[in-house]
């Protein structure tokens, strides 16, 4: 098993044969797909495709369970904001009126459309994080010749996120050990007392920044001056090579995106007017 940003992937997973750039390219391009797809069934299909890719990559699909509550609450928020707070639309088809609240079919439809646009983006991100390590992101960026400073700052941002979470746990445990614990207390109390965690966490972050700067200087790194002009060899990249199948995959991802645009703008696919799901639903509602 190899640890990734979101879990573990077995050593025999075929995903390891894929260059990190291809994975990042997949994330960036496929995440754009739902922006151009309005019909919910096509977005649902995209989600299924990504899930199949996860299964083929031997990612433990069970990790998706932790996102179910998020998906449900996100769906509820979207539905409430679209349906309950939709305002007055005489041009829409009114389904029911509950006091001042008017519920229109078009607003429910729009909520479903938005929800099904977000879901594949999330699944694509989960797929990427489940199959990549922090190093993969850096390698992907460096392989397209992104400046070292940019990739390095990005890497440190990734690392810092983990460090802040770790520090938060330490602060919380230290405060629990001294009798301060918000577990089981009402939410307003928790919010009020949150500052008890935030102040030490902030102080720790400042100290970490200082230590980190010292470490960079001590290792001969300089942002300015003669030392910064040294031509750096990129040793990490020597472990990775862009193989023919990576070229094929990159081209396939690119072509599928172009095909999507052609189908949408050339032939009118993926629109709401041609959406079988919404056509069927509007017929059912009458």
């Amino acid at each position: 098993m190899n640890k990734t940003m979101l879990g573990y992937v077995p050593n025999e997973s075929p995903i390891y044969a894929v260059h990190p750039f291809v994975k990042l390219f997949f994330l960036l391009v496929v995440s754009l797909f739902p922006m151009f797809i309005v019909a919910p069934e096509w977005n649902a299909l995209l989600m299924v495709v990504v899930l199949i890719l996860m299964w083929l990559s031997k990612v433990d699909i069970k990790i998706l369970r932790i996102y179910v509550p998020v998906a449900i609450s996100m769906g509820s928020i979207i539905l409430i904001s679209y349906v309950i707070f939709s305002g007055n639309h005489p041009e829409y088809h009114l389904l029911v009126q509950l006091g001042v609240i008017k519920i229109y079919w078009e607003r429910i439809r729009d909520a479903i459309v938005v929800y099904f646009r977000i879901l594949p983006m999330i699944v694509t991100m989960v797929f990427f994080l489940s199959t990549s390590r922090e190093r993969d992101v850096i390698v992907a960026m460096r392989s397209i010749k992104a400046p070292f400073v940019v990739t390095y700052v990005f890497a440190m941002a990734l690392r810092s996120a983990g460090m802040v979470l770790e520090d938060f746990q330490i602060v919380r445990q230290a405060e629990q050990a001294r009798g301060f614990d918000t577990t089981g207390k009402p939410l307003p109390y928790k919010i009020r007392k949150y500052v008890m965690y935030m102040i030490p966490l902030f102080a720790l972050s400042l100290r970490r920044s200082e230590e980190f700067t010292n470490a960079l200087v001590a290792r001969g790194y300089a942002f300015t001056g003669e030392a910064s002009k040294v031509k750096r060899a990129d040793y990490i990249l020597t472990h990775y090579s862009f193989k023919p199948h990576d070229v094929v995959l990159t081209i396939m991802i690119g072509i599928s995106f172009i095909a999507l645009l052609v189908l949408k703008y050339g032939f009118g696919y993926f629109g709401l007017d041609t959406s079988l799901l919404t056509i069927w639903a509007s017929r059912v509602i009458g």
Binding site: A215, A218, Y221, A233
Partner: protein, 292 residues
């Protein structure tokens, strides 16, 4: 003294917003190839001295500096940014604080990349350092997910890989169990014998440090209290004890014997020396008893 490479002259440093100087009027000379042990209680200025020799002070800190610190004949403030650190490597007491990369391997090569080394050079040195510090199985792991002892070995290896002429180790074994601690000192012994590096070790664990150190420095309350060759340094036992430095048990035992008049002033520095001395002592006492 042969080829002096570090010279600290009347040096004092006070951090901004503090009422007392962290270091006061330090005078110290270190020659090429020396192995120096720096000891002293917490807050005595050991880390400040280490940072001053590496240029982190005053480069990265605000404060008041008096006196001069020369490294390779040049005042540390006259070095261009990043230049001094190519010759002086520091291993910090908190290894996690010095990690700058996502895997152990990236961590080890980061410094070498900064020095502008070529890929074959980096590969060669990486192999050397991973063998030396026994890190091969950890190369692909994130440095913040390994054990405390492994972290300290990675921190040491990351600096070793840059092969600086001067190495400063600030409590390099503070998080280690006795076996790992011994392993770190074995690496330092190798460096001393085979590579003739100038090594400055700040350490509380004296039993490992004493056999390697050519000279010892005692800091207390920001002042350099004592500096001498290791055997002579430990002749000043009352002063050391007064400054809360507790030497290894064998050394202390012979000091007690010396005070009681059973042993001479030559205190054994290692366990082997102590064993030999004790045997001689028993033998002499037995002979004396037989003669009486």
């Amino acid at each position: 003294m042969s080829n002096v490479i570090i010279e600290v002259k009347n040096y004092s440093w006070q951090y901004i917003n503090t009422s007392e100087p962290a270091l006061r009027n330090i005078n110290l000379t270190i020659a090429e190839g020396d192995f120096i042990g720096v000891i002293g209680p917490n807050g005595s200025g050991k880390t400040t001295l280490a940072y001053s020799l590496d240029g982190l002070i005053p480069g990265q800190y605000n404060g008041i500096k008096q006196g001069e610190v020369f490294v390779f004949g040049k005042e540390v403030e006259q070095y261009a940014k990043g230049d001094l650190q190519r010759s002086v490597g520091v291993v910090f007491s908190d290894p996690e604080a010095q990690f700058t990369a996502m895997t152990v391997e990236d961590e080890l090569v980061f410094g070498m990349e900064n020095l502008g080394m070529s890929i074959p050079e980096i590969r060669e040195r990486l192999e050397w350092v991973t063998d030396l510090v026994n890190l091969k199985p950890l190369l692909m792991k994130p440095p913040y997910e390994i054990s405390g002892g492994q972290k300290q070995r990675v921190a040491l290896a990351a600096v070793l890989a840059m092969t600086p002429k001067i190495m400063i180790l600030d409590e390099p074994t503070s998080m280690l169990d006795p076996v790992s601690r011994k392993r770190v000192f074995e690496v330092l012994e190798k460096l001393k014998k085979e590579h003739r590096n100038t090594i400055i070790v700040i350490e509380h664990s004296l039993e490992n440090l004493i056999p390697l150190a050519d000279r010892m420095v005692l800091l207390s309350n920001g002042e350099l209290i004592l500096e001498d060759e290791t055997p002579r340094f430990f002749q000043n036992m009352p002063l050391l004890l007064e400054k809360s430095v507790y030497p290894p048990g064998a050394l202390l035992f012979f000091y007690e014997l010396m005070v009681a008049g059973y042993s001479n002033h030559q205190l054994p520095l290692t366990l082997d020396e102590a064993e030999k001395k004790l045997k001689d002592l028993i033998k002499n006492r037995t002979l004396q008893g037989e003669q009486q």
